[in-house]
Amino acid sequence: MAALIDMEGVSKVYRTGLVDVAALAGITLSVETGEYMAIMGASGSGKSTLMNVIGFLDRPTAGVYKFAGREVENLSDDDLAAIRGRRIGFVFQTFQLLPRATTLENVELPLVYQSISGAERRARAMDILKQVGLADRMFHTPMELSGGQQQRVAIARALVTRPLLLLADEPTGNLDSRSGAEIMALIDRLHAEGLTILVVTHDASVAGHAGRRIVLRDGQIVEDTRERAGESVNG
């Protein structure tokens, strides 16, 4: 079976005035369905950029990226939006919830853009919220929730579309250690249920949950470790 993520020499260059910044400088990476991978590296090493490219929020400036066997380069912005909405779940460090919408409305949001009926949207969102333990917070707004609860809303929103891939960019970065541990436990459970997961983190203990670990430096993969196989592939 083809890999879920298949990157070959992917680069992302930002043009800022006179200097070009290569946020990604030739990434070659393959991720199988069902993998749980941590992405580590110093600040500015290109972790978020890699996540954004993988999740179709951004386009590479060079290289080939195939997602689920499909070449991405020639897809239109709207095609990318559709893949993003149906196949990918995003979790951000800063939660990124709509501040005035309720928990339920925030979780329903991706389904709004898939022409799913109001009743089904609601049923699916409620179901997911129960799974993340927020059944009693459905009609609260983000301001009325703790950071850990907000991040669980964000995870519920990422899961409600039944994605192939969950991308979490420093999901515990804004949380105290206990809430962080809860969120990591939730992500572990999702992996155990079969979901493919990529987590960006600085935290070695967080990375310890993952079966595979890559380290970025200056937009390149400098380390790629699989725990079970015990092998190390240097980029």
């Binding site: 929020l57 559709a82 909405g85 995003f90 990124q96 005035r100 991706p110 929103r157």
Partner: protein, 402 residues
């Protein structure tokens, strides 16, 4: 995403900022209300004048001395010796133009009418018995000037309502003698009140036999001949026949002008249509200003909600979804503003005549329809650019926006 969903999202966003939404709408409300109001005043004036002109008498023709080029002109050149129309002309028309039912001589003058120690400056019309019939006027008490009065130049007078009230109050006037230009005239009739017609008080008039008037003013020229066609369809035929008769009598020259009711109406109609258009156009400018207000607020709103746009895009919103959402906000603002504006403008237009009867108004369906679609168009026109900016935002940058 369907239209219903977009509208729902737009309404939620608008309700999150009720004060701002209401103020933005106010611009459209004022614009639409102004359009409705000013157009209804223009339309009202037109309806009023049309009614008044019809009320003067149908099938009416006025033959005036002198040749004017424009149909419906109100000021033909003054009658010179060559151009004059005479009582004989009127009689000839009546006799020979069979499509003409009446041809009434009119001598116009003004002067003091005195009774005891009271007097009034008024309009004096010298005419013939058919005058009331042609002009849709009625005698209330006594009789109008008779043919015998005309033939014998009798010193008789018929008083208009206003003149009667000024000189006699409620006292009986029939048989009384009033003085006009040093001559005594016997009152033989009092006209029914008719009221103002086109700002002219048709009751502030006295009627005397045309022959007497010609003597009074020492002239044999008529101011005009009022003629009526037998039937409305025969107005053109009547005009041809009148021309035949008069040209023959005037040594082959067409030295007179025939003004038709229709020509007067269409001239007035043209003037008032232009007036209504100009008024509506001026009001339309304020609607455009309202539209600019919408655009301004939408641009601010897009900026403020950059992060929201980023979130929506990150979870799968396409450009068209974002475009629709913001466009609908603008259109809903202008649409609700338009509906309220129609109600407000229509309400004011409707109630003006209740307080100022001198300003007739008419709220027509076409102006309401036009204002409605115009306000929606304003929403689309001024909403599309902010919505496009929102739709074009880069999701990553939008998500980072503080």
């Amino acid at each position: 995403m369907n239209v219903l969903e977009s509208s729902r999202i737009a309404v939620v966003a608008l309700r999150a900022n009720p004060g701002r939404s209401a103020l933005t709408m106010l611009g459209v409300i004022i614009g639409v209300a102004a359009v409705i109001l000013l157009v209804s005043i223009g339309e009202g004036a037109r309806a009023y004048i049309e009614k008044e002109l019809t009320g003067i008498g149908t099938n009416l023709l006025a033959i005036q001395p002198g040749k004017t080029s424009t149909a419906g002109g109100f000021h033909p050149p003054a009658a010179g010796s060559v151009h004059k129309l005479t009582y004989e002309d009127a009689k000839a028309i009546k006799r020979r133009a069979y499509a003409v039912s009446d041809a009434v001589p009119v001598v116009l003058g003004s002067g003091k009418v005195k009774f005891e120690n009271l007097s009034r400056d008024t309009m004096i019309i010298g005419t013939a018995p058919e005058f009331p019939r042609v002009r849709n006027l009625f005698v209330e008490i006594g009789d109008f000037v008779t043919q015998a009065d005309v033939d014998t130049k009798s010193k008789v007078v018929v008083l208009g309502r206003t003149v009667y009230r000024e000189l006699f109050g409620d006292r009986p006037a029939l048989g009384a003698r009033v003085t006009i230009a040093d001559a005594k005239f016997r009152v033989v009739g009092i006209m029914q009140a008719k009221g103002m017609t086109l700002g002219f008080d048709i009751d502030d008039i006295v009627f005397i036999p045309v022959t007497g008037a010609m003597e009074l003013y020492d002239t044999d020229a008529l101011h005009e001949i009022l003629a009526a066609a037998e039937r409305a369809e025969e107005v053109d035929l009547a005009i041809r026949q009148i021309k035949d008769v008069l040209i023959k009598r005037h040594a082959g020259k067409e030295d007179f002008t025939i003004i038709t009711q229709r020509a007067m109406m269409s001239t007035m109609d043209t003037i008032l249509t232009i007036l209504t258009g100009v008024l509506g156009g001026i009001a339309g400018i304020s609607l455009v200003v309202g539209g600019i207000g919408i655009m301004n607020i939408m641009l601010v709103s897009v900026k403020e909600r950059t992060r929201e746009i980023g979130i929506r895009k990150a979870v799968g919103a396409r450009r068209i979804d974002i475009l629709q959402q913001f466009l609908f906000e603008a259109v809903i603002l202008s649409l609700i503003g338009g509906v309220i504006g129609i109600i407000v403008g229509g309400g004011i237009a409707y109630s003006i005549p209740l307080f100022y009867s001198a300003i007739p108004t008419r709220v027509s369906l076409w102006s309401v329809t036009l204002a409605f679609f115009f306000s929606v168009a304003v929403g689309v026109f001024f909403g599309v650019e902010p919505a496009r900016r929102a739709a074009r935002l880069d999701p990553i940058e939008a998500l980072r926006y503080e």
